[in-house]
Amino acid sequence: MSADTGVVIAGAAETDELGRLPGHSTLQLHIEGALNAVADAGLSLRDIDGIATVSAPGPVQVAHALGITPSWIDGTGVGGTSFLLHVRHAVAAIRAGYARTVLITHGESGRSRVGAGGYRPGASSPPGQFEAPYGTFGPTTTFTIPALRYMKDYGLTHEQLAYVAVAQRR
């Protein structure tokens, strides 16, 4: 990335432990990963002037928790690709001069659900009115439906799809 943009990923890290962590809230997972990433970069929190994270808990809560007053924030939340967009947005912000060092955080108390929001969309939203009542619950119930149609329309087989999963594990 640096050759094209002049921007580098200076550090990256995970929480101290991974797996089922009922002793950590969602926000604490963000904080722990953030502190480890800042240390990995050889920086201190005083160097951070930009925060990007998905909308819950959101960049404001993360910034408050870390005692950072950012000059630039991004709360883009569009599902599992959010973090790729955060990196692109951070590169653009740094090149535009809005920030020098951006911290991108994520954490999910996926199993323990400590300090975590619900999965259910608002009952008045389009998904809440026209999808959730039929028992949708994440990608396995929604991404699969167009995939099955694609298989019929184009002759894609289960075996061919299995090649993808095998290749990705190499």
Binding site: F130, G135, I145
Partner: protein, 154 residues
Amino acid sequence: MTAKPVPVPTPETQPFWDGCAAGELRLQRCADCGRPYFYPRPVCPACGSRDVSWFTASGRATLYSYVINHRAAPGFEDDTPYAIAVVQLEEGPRMMTSIVGLPPTPEALELDMPLQVSFERRGDVSLPVFGPVPAAAPASGAAASGAAASGAAR
């Protein structure tokens, strides 16, 4: 146990849910480009026109695609496995729904099979669901009384 989600209408979707309560599947059509669409909203997603109106769809559809879900969404613990489907309405739009009256198996769910709408009570609303088209109904019975009921309503 968490209850199943119940849709809460907005002013823009209320006519759709009123239709379901009356046993009708109501869609919108654009007066400018002529296209029918779903889900309900006061602007045509094909051309941006605000000149749209409601009409009653036939309730006939074909099975566009589906998934047989074994990991219950909260509230659906007693239903697994259950089929979540997208149907292609006769008028063109597609909508997500549940499949009723057929076992949730690949053998019973053949893509492009004909389906017919019915309505299930869920809290304060009637939810459109789809099942097999009834075998050619005799002249008397449900179909005739349904026609009489809608005639009387006019």
